[in-house]
Amino acid sequence: MTMIRRIFSFATVVSLLLASSWLLAAEDASQDVLLRALDAELERSFEGLKQVEGPPLYYLGYEARDKQSYTLNAKLGAIVYETERHDRSLDVDVRVGSRQLDNTHQLKGRTGRFEFPKMSYTELTVDDDEAALRGDIWKRTDEAYKDAVSRYTTVETNKAVTATEEDTSADFSTEEASTFYEQVPFPTIDRAAWRERMRRISGAMKRYAFVYGSQTNLSLETENRYIVNSEGSRIVTGNTFIRLTFGVQSQTEDGMGLHRGRYYDADRPEDLPAVETVLEDVATAAGELEALLNAPLVDPYTGPAIFRHRATGVFFHEILGHRLEGHRQKLEREGQTFTKMVGQKVVADFISVYDDPTRHRLGDQFLRGFYRFDDEGIPARRVTLIKDGVLESFLMSRSPIANFEHSNGHGRRSSGRFVVARMGNTIVEASGTVEYARLREMLIEEIVRQGKPYGLIFDDISGGFTSTGRGGTQSYKVIPHLVYRVYPDGRPDEVVRGVDIVGTPLTSFSKILAAADDYDVFNGSCGAESGWVPVSAVAPSILVSEIEIEKRAKSSDKPPILPTPHHAPKGGGR
C-alpha cells in the first residue's frame, strides 16, 4: 500500500539523517555552554545528594528548553503588535526510593494534577554564562530533591493506609541511555514583507459588515530541548513550529457566538501558503460565517453522519487517544476503558490506528506531533495501537504498566509538569476505502435505510474534551463549527448551527461503517495533566451509522448595537 511504503522509506532517511548529524555535531556539543553547565551540575548534584541520609537518590534528570519566538499580529489592515522573545527554562526530575516504589508513585484519593508530583520550572539565563546557569540549576535541584524526599514519605504512608493496587508495576522502567546533538536554528523571515502580507490578509476582512471581530496572527517558535540525566543520556534536540492563523467572528440575534477561521502549520517559512491562497480562504470563511448567521438552529438528533477527515482526527484523538495513554491503565481513579481489552476487537476491522512522532509530514503538510526524543530522552517510536480493529498496545512513558514494561517514546510534558504518556501524530488508516463521493452516496443510503429525515456532515471542529475518570460519565464532547444537513431527496446541503456531538466511546466506536481515502491533517495542541503539547491527527472521512447531537450552550450576549464604524451610514447611526 502506498502509505506504508512511504512511511518505510521516510524512516530510512530519518535514521540516516540522525546518524550523520550526530557525527557532525560532536564538536558543537563540546562548545555548548548550556550543555556543559547541565552536565557539570548534574554530576556534582548526583554525587553529592546520593550521600544524603534518607531514601536513596537513584535518578536525577534535567530537561532545559531554549525557546526563541516571534509573533506578528494584525487586524483589519494594521499591525496590532510585533514581539520577539528568547527564554530558557529548566525542569528537574528527581527519584528517590527504588525503581519499584519511588516518590512519583500515585497518591490515591487525590485528583488531577495533585496525584502527580508537584513540579515547577525555573527560568535560566539566555546568556551563555556557565556560572549563572549552574547557580540556577543547583537551586532548582536542591528544591526538587527536598520535594521528592518529602513526597516519598507521603507515598509510603498513602500506600500503607489504602487498599492494595490492582496493577503492581514498578514506578520507573529500565531504558538505554542516548546521545544526540542537533541544534535547530531559528528561521529568518523577511519581516517587512510579512507585515505587508498580514496587513493585506487582515484588511480583507474589513469588507464584511457582519464580521464583528477578527484576528490574524503569525507565530514562529523554535524550541531546543536539552536532556541530561544520571543514566548517561546527553541529548540536544529541537523543533520549529510556525503557525499562521486567521479568524472571523460574528454573533446571532439569539446570542450565539460564531467563528470561522483557518490554521496553517509548517516548520519552514517557505511552506506557508501564498497570500492569494489565504485571501481565498478568508473569502470562504466569511461566506461560511454569513451562512451560519442565517442558518437554522438544530434540534437534538440521533442518526447517520459523515465525519470529514479533520473531524475524524479529532474524534479519534478524544475517544481513543486519551484512553490509550499508558499511565491511565494503572491509575486507580481512571476509568480504564481499554485496559483489559488488549487482543480484543475494539473497532471495525478495516481500521488501524498508529501513533508516530517520527513522522514529519503527510505529503507536504507538516505534522505538529513530530519529535525525535520524548521529554524523558527516549527515542520516539511508531506505535501500533490498533491493528485491523484489534487493540495491540498503549502509549508509554517510562511508567510501566501490566504487560508493558518499557517506554515507547511517548513521555511528554510542558514546562513545570510531571511527564505522562501523550499522543504525538495519531494516524488513522483504513483499508477497503472508497472515494469521498461514494461515501456520500452511502450516507444517503443509510439515511433511507434508517428512515431518518436527514443525515449530517461534520465538516470542521475546534477540538473537544473528554473525561476519562472513574467518577465521571466516561463521555466525550467534540465541538463542531461547520455542520451540514444532508437530505436524501437531492436538496442541496444545508448549514445548521448550535450543534454539539455527545456520546460514550465504546458505543460510538462500534458504529463506523466505512471510510474514504481522502486523508487530511488536524494540527493542534493537546492539554492534559502534563500540560500542553503539540499534536496532530491524520485520518480519512468516515461514515458512522449513529451519532448523537445536542444543543450547544450559548451565551446571552447581544450583538453590538451600532454597526462597525467603517460600515456605518454617514452620520454614524444604525
Binding site: L49, I79, L124, D128, A132, Y145, I561
Partner: protein, 575 residues
C-alpha cells in the same frame, strides 16, 4: 553552539527595526488616534442606546502607548529580555446621571465597576482604531446598563436615602505635552543589568538574587465626553533588586529595592546602581549573621527610608480613596475600603508638630527630582496643591472626580486607574515638621527615653519593607534593618526576624520628635484597589522618633538549608 550565538546576535541587532508603530516620542501626538477617539465618542453619544434602557451620559477613552524594555538579571547574566511596543485602551461608559450612575457599586457576583480594557494596533489606521473603540464601547455600555439596574435595586431594597453623587462638576481643559526619551540603548542597559546583578558574585552568603529593569516610555491619550482631552508623558524607569540569604538556624533573610524614576535623565550612573546592589548584598549578609530580636516595647527611631515607608503606609494610604463604595457581597468589602483617615476631617491624625501638603505640581525638591510630579491627573483635571494637615489636624482631602460627603469636587488627584477605577492617591506628599532637632540629638533622646523605660537599649530602624510586601492584616510591613542602640554607649547592633506588633494609626500621633533633614523618598505606590495600577509618588519627610512601638519575633518558620553549596562558591568542587 557558535551557530546559535550568531543567530542570537543578529536578532538583537534587528530588533530596533520592528513594526512601524506611531512613536509619540519622536513624531508628536498621533492626530489619527485622537480623531478616532473623538469620532467614535461622538457617534456613541449620539446613537448608542438599547431600546428603552438608559443611555450613556458620560464616556472616557484612555490609551496607553508604550515602548517597553524589560530585562532580568541574575548573577551576572540576562533572563528573558523583552522589548516591545503596545497600545492599550481603557473605555469607561457611564449610564444614569451625575447624581446617580452605575459606579461605586460592586454587585453580588463581585462584578466591579472597573473600566473595560483592550488592545489597539500600534499602527495608525483610523478604521481599525475606531473598530476597536466601537467593540469595547459596546461591551462597556452593556455592562454599565446592567450594573445601573442592580445598583438601583440595591438602593431600593436597602432603603438607602443618603446618596452621594457619582461624578463631580469640574473644569474642562485640553492639553498636549510630549516628552522625547532619546534612543533606548538596549545593549547598554543589558550590559548594565549584567554588571549590577554580577555584584552578587562577591557575596557568598547570598543564595538567590536578581536585578530587574523595567523601562516604559509611555504617552497617555485621553478624551472624555465633557470636552476634556490631553496627551501627556508617563515615562517610568524602574529597577528592582532582591537578595536572600539564610541564617544558621534556617531563617531566610531577604531584602528588596524598588527604585523609580520618571525620566531617563534622572537615573543615576551605573556605578551608583551597582553600589546600591552592593549595599543590599551587605545588608542581607549581615542579617544572616545577626542575632534574633527579642520582644521590645519602647521608643523607636525611624531613620530615612524607614520613616518614608512609615508615612507611606500609615499616612498616605490612610488618606487615599475617600469615597465609599456600596458592596453587596460581604467578602468583597475588604477590597474597597476607604482610607482609614478620610473620615477624620477636623480631627487630629498626626502629632501636632506636622503640617502635611500634597503638591503634584512640584517637579523637584532642593534639586532632587520628585517622581510624584504631574500636571494633569488621569481624569484630565489639573493637579492642585492641597493643604491636608495643619498642626496635626486634618483640614482637607485628596480628591478624584468621585464626590464625598465633605468634598464635592476634584483637586486633581485621580490616579491608579487602568484595570481599576481611578481614585484619589498622593502625588508629592510633603510632611513638614514645625519643630526639629538634629539627628544626633534624636539619637541621644532615644537613649534617654529608653533608659526612662528601664531598658538597656533603644531601637533604631533604617529600613521597612515596601507596602506591597504587607500581609493582609498588617498595617505596616515588617522592619528589615533593626538596630538595638545601647543606652549607655550608643553602640549599634543589628537584629533579625522582627515584626511590628499592635500597630494602629495611633502611631502617627506617637511621634515626639522630627529631624531637621528632609529626605526625598521616591516610590512606586500600589493603588488602593488590588487591581489598581501603581502610581509614581514622592514623600518628602524627616526622620522621626516615636515614643512607643512594639516589636516581636516573627512567626515565620525556618527552611532547610541547601544540601550542597552554590557551585560558584564551592571551591572544593571546582575543577
Amino acid at each position: 553552539m557558535k551557530r546559535l550565538a550568531v543567530a542570537v546576535l543578529l536578532l538583537t541587532g534587528v530588533s530596533a527595526v520592528l513594526a512601524q508603530p506611531h512613536d509619540t516620542r519622536t513624531s508628536g501626538p498621533s492626530e489619527t488616534l485622537l480623531r478616532a477617539m473623538q469620532d467614535e465618542m461622538a457617534r456613541t453619544l449620539e446613537h448608542l442606546r438599547l431600546e428603552d434602557l438608559p443611555e450613556p451620559y458620560f464616556l472616557a477613552y484612555t490609551v496607553l502607548e508604550t515602548h517597553r524594555l524589560e530585562l532580568q538579571g541574575n548573577f551576572g547574566a540576562l533572563e528573558r529580555p523583552v522589548e516591545a511596543d503596545s497600545r492599550r485602551i481603557q473605555v469607561e461608559v457611564r449610564t444614569g446621571s451625575r447624581e446617580f450612575d452605575d459606579r461605586h457599586f460592586v454587585g453580588s457576583q463581585g462584578q466591579t465597576y472597573r473600566p473595560v480594557t483592550g488592545v489597539l494596533p500600534v499602527e495608525d489606521d483610523y478604521d481599525v482604531l475606531r473598530a476597536e473603540l466601537w467593540a469595547l464601547t459596546d461591551k462597556s455600555y452593556k455592562s454599565a446598563v446592567e450594573r445601573l439596574t442592580h445598583k438601583t435595586v440595591y438602593r431600593e431594597s436597602n432603603n438607602i436615602l443618603d446618596v452621594l453623587p457619582d461624578l463631580s462638576e469640574d473644569p474642562v481643559l485640553s492639553s498636549v505635552e510630549t516628552l522625547a526619551t532619546g534612543p533606548f540603548e538596549r545593549e547598554k542597559w543589558e550590559q548594565a543589568i549584567r554588571d549590577i546583578s554580577g555584584v552578587f558574585r562577591s557575596f557568598p552568603a547570598i543564595q538567590s538574587s536578581s536585578v530587574d529593569l523595567l523601562w516604559r516610555a509611555q504617552h497617555v491619550y485621553f478624551v472624555d465626553s465633557e470636552g476634556r482631552s490631553y496627551v501627556k508623558p508617563g515615562h517610568w524607569f524602574e529597577l528592582r533588586m532582591k537578595g536572600a540569604a539564610q541564617a544558621a538556624d534556617g531563617m531566610i533573610q531577604s531584602d528588596y529595592r524598588q527604585l523609580v524614576w520618571s525620566a531617563l535623565d534622572h537615573v543615576p550612573p551605573v556605578d551608583a546602581l551597582k553600589a546600591e546592589a552592593e549595599q543590599l548584598a551587605r545588608d542581607v549578609t549581615a542579617l544572616a549573621d545577626a542575632p534574633k530580636v527579642e520582644t521590645y516595647l519602647g521608643p523607636v527611631l525611624l531613620e530615612g527610608q524607614a520613616a518614608g515607608e512609615f508615612f507611606n503606609q500609615l499616612l498616605a494610604s490612610g488618606l487615599a480613596n475617600p469615597r465609599e463604595v456600596w458592596v453587596e457581597q460581604k467578602w468583597s468589602a475588604q477590597h474597597y475600603k476607604t482610607g482609614a483617615l478620610t473620615k477624620r476631617l477636623g480631627l487630629r491624625v498626626i502629632a501636632p508638630i506636622f503640617d502635611v501638603v500634597d503638591d503634584p505640581t512640584r517637579a523637584d525638591f532642593r534639586g532632587r527630582p520628585l517622581t510624584g510630579h504631574y500636571k494633569i491627573d488621569e481624569q484630565g483635571i489639573p493637579a492642585q496643591r492641597v493643604q491636608l494637615v495643619e498642626r496635626g489636624i486634618l483640614r482637607d482631602l485628596l480628591m478624584s472626580r468621585s464626590p464625598t460627603r465633605d468634598r464635592k469636587v476634584s483637586n486633581g488627584h485621580g490616579r491608579g486607574g487602568f484595570y481599576a477605577p481611578a481614585t484619589a492617591v498622593i502625588g508629592n506628599l510633603f510632611v513638614t515638621p514645625t519643630t526639629t532637632m538634629s539627628f544626633e540629638k534624636m539619637k541621644r533622646r532615644l537613649r534617654e527615653e529608653a533608659k526612662a523605660f528601664g531598658l538597656s537599649h533603644g531601637i533604631l530602624i533604617r529600613r521597612i519593607a515596601e507596602e506591597r510586601r504587607r500581609s493582609r492584616d498588617e498595617l505596616l510591613a515588617r522592619p528589615v534593618l533593626v538596630y538595638e542602640v545601647d543606652v549607655e554607649t550608643g553602640e549599634e547592633r543589628l537584629l533579625r526576624d522582627a515584626v511590628f506588633s499592635a500597630i494602629t494609626l495611633r502611631a502617627l500621633r506617637d511621634i515626639v520628635a522630627a529631624s531637621n533633614e528632609q529626605h526625598v523618598y521616591n516610590l512606586a505606590k500600589p493603588g488602593p484597589f488590588a487591581s489598581s495600577a501603581t502610581s509614581r509618588a514622592s514623600i518628602v519627610h524627616p526622620s522621626v522618633l516615636l515614643s512607643e512601638m512594639e516589636l516581636v519575633e516573627t512567626e515565620r518558620k525556618p527552611s532547610k538549608p541547601p544540601y550542597l553549596k552554590h557551585p560558584f562558591f564551592d571551591t572544593a568542587a571546582k575543577n
